[in-house]
Symmetry: C2
Subunit: 378 residues, 2 copies
Amino acid sequence: MRTHTDSVGVVIPQTVRFDSSISLASGVCLPGFELVYETYGALNDDASNAVLVCHALSGNHHAAGFHAPTDGVAGWWDNMIGPGKPIDTNQFFVVSSNNLGGCHGSTGPSSINSSTGQPYGSSFPLVTVEDWVRTQTMLADHLGIKCFAAVIGGSLGGMQALAWSYLFPHRIRHALVIAAASKLTAQNIGFNDVARQAILSDPDFHGGDYYQFGVVPSRGLKLARMLGHITYLSDDVMGARFGRLLQNGGINFGFGIEFEVESYLRYQGEKFSSSFDANTYLLMTRALDYFDPARLHDDDLSLALSEVRAKTLVVSFTSDWRFSPARSKEIVKALLDNGAQVSYAEIKADYGHDAFLLEGTYYHALIRNYMQRLMCQD
Amino acid sequence: MRTHTDSVGVVIPQTVRFDSSISLASGVCLPGFELVYETYGALNDDASNAVLVCHALSGNHHAAGFHAPTDGVAGWWDNMIGPGKPIDTNQFFVVSSNNLGGCHGSTGPSSINSSTGQPYGSSFPLVTVEDWVRTQTMLADHLGIKCFAAVIGGSLGGMQALAWSYLFPHRIRHALVIAAASKLTAQNIGFNDVARQAILSDPDFHGGDYYQFGVVPSRGLKLARMLGHITYLSDDVMGARFGRLLQNGGINFGFGIEFEVESYLRYQGEKFSSSFDANTYLLMTRALDYFDPARLHDDDLSLALSEVRAKTLVVSFTSDWRFSPARSKEIVKALLDNGAQVSYAEIKADYGHDAFLLEGTYYHALIRNYMQRLMCQD
């Protein structure tokens, strides 16, 4: 067992199977599915201290701690979740699940479809942010949680936190919507579509049924991740980290790696493409594209959020050009239009969109203070 | 013959062959090459009214007019060049060539290498902005032009105008450096590398020698162009043009075209990939990456520009996030450090980087006024 006093230590993922079918936003009915999840801390007697953490595009259920004492890398939000950390597991019971359609244990395109004995592949239905929230309520029921003290997420995870607040207003007391937006811009959708086209046009994609060919569309997924990475960072932080540094000191006049930034992006792309499922990447980017609670309310976000009862903390980062502060302010305005209780913080950060994953003095102090007051307020 | 009074009308491209070998920045010696070019207007007796227009990444020699009376589409800068237009062909003799390495008539990777009888393909050397400028001086010699009244370009074309001013200070009286930078940022290089990787990893690329296989890496080139397009436009203009408009009115839960912006980008990608050579695209993006006159001067741009004698107009566009106004100001500062005559205009424009290609009231008035005063000043 690891001895870090601020770590949740070694955690064992759990899996819950739901045998009842679920009707998805697409109209497709999924006859049962599994969710893999982790929990940190202890649920109190009246189940009032539960916090749901929602992951972003490439995340999973492993948000904190380690899977083995020898693990070198902790969960993706380990700097945020743990004993004494901003989301303090001495105080809260934290739940983190892999989204439906994922590739880390929850039922998804790479899972075996029991009715065929083959991976779902192209037959796996598209899911929406709202679908995810519905499956998360089923997990909450399973864990005996009627109402979350808070639902927290960054980026696509922030969209889930927001969706919780308008879909299940009586099951969430606080929403922490971080580095998110109520809908993607055309530019965002454009980037997503380039990423998808890279995967879809990879000859190893085989219409999504590559599993049975013993290949994966790794070229396409690598390109998608390289592109994504650029948009998660600010121009300034890329300049500070890489600038125009040359890999080998001089120019070689070729298409191999010349600049450090190329080395970094290609490495990130390679690593990701060997550990993530391309169909899940496609599905996740479409869920991002589709999310737009105002769409069915005459494009009026205030109307879409009129049922929200949760208190909301909206957080943005100054250098985030993928989900800019302006997008966060749209959420704040719509909540204020409804007289909802909302706090807004715009954190000065150089890092770009990925700042939500990093330890920042003011950022973590903000979340820590909000979470500490949260149990007293209610 | 077209009757537009402000058009240069039908133009016939010309080709010049240089049989003397040229030593490139890469160290490779190219034994002769051809440049295709167009001219508009008439050279005056003392050859003092010549203007060189340099093209950007996907451009070519066909900057103005039409190739046939039935042509529906004019040259790429037809709104700028013509009788009575900002670059007035009643006054100036305008020269526009396709860069060495191009795919529209000048010698490039898709040209036949006479020593093998096959397309150059992967054996075509990389060329730099400075190489292009040297070949352009050879074209000037051929045309009897000792000194250009102005060298003008946007984006990669602006880099060529800048390079003219420090490489051949006595052959250029004015440089118009529009929507350019003295070097790419890490983010720019990153985007270029994603585009290149899309092409290089396309199974139809065949190491650059796809011509002999009867295929072209169109999937990769399409992706490259889609990505490029997003970065040429501002987030705001994409929002205004496409927003979240759905192609078919509703969501279809699939990976086909859902949003208008996807339709636009895919169409642009398809069109480009059927008319441009992938090897040229690779070569052009590398020339962009490599351009950095300060590199051999201790990263001191002022030092790199110390020989500049030309008067310079630097123009940027407020919404250009690929070559932002801050990058243009670096050029202005370095020129001012040397006591050079430089004017700077930051044009308010919503369109993003591509604004340099469009007709803008203030933008065109600026260029028109600058060009009109230019002949009187000297």
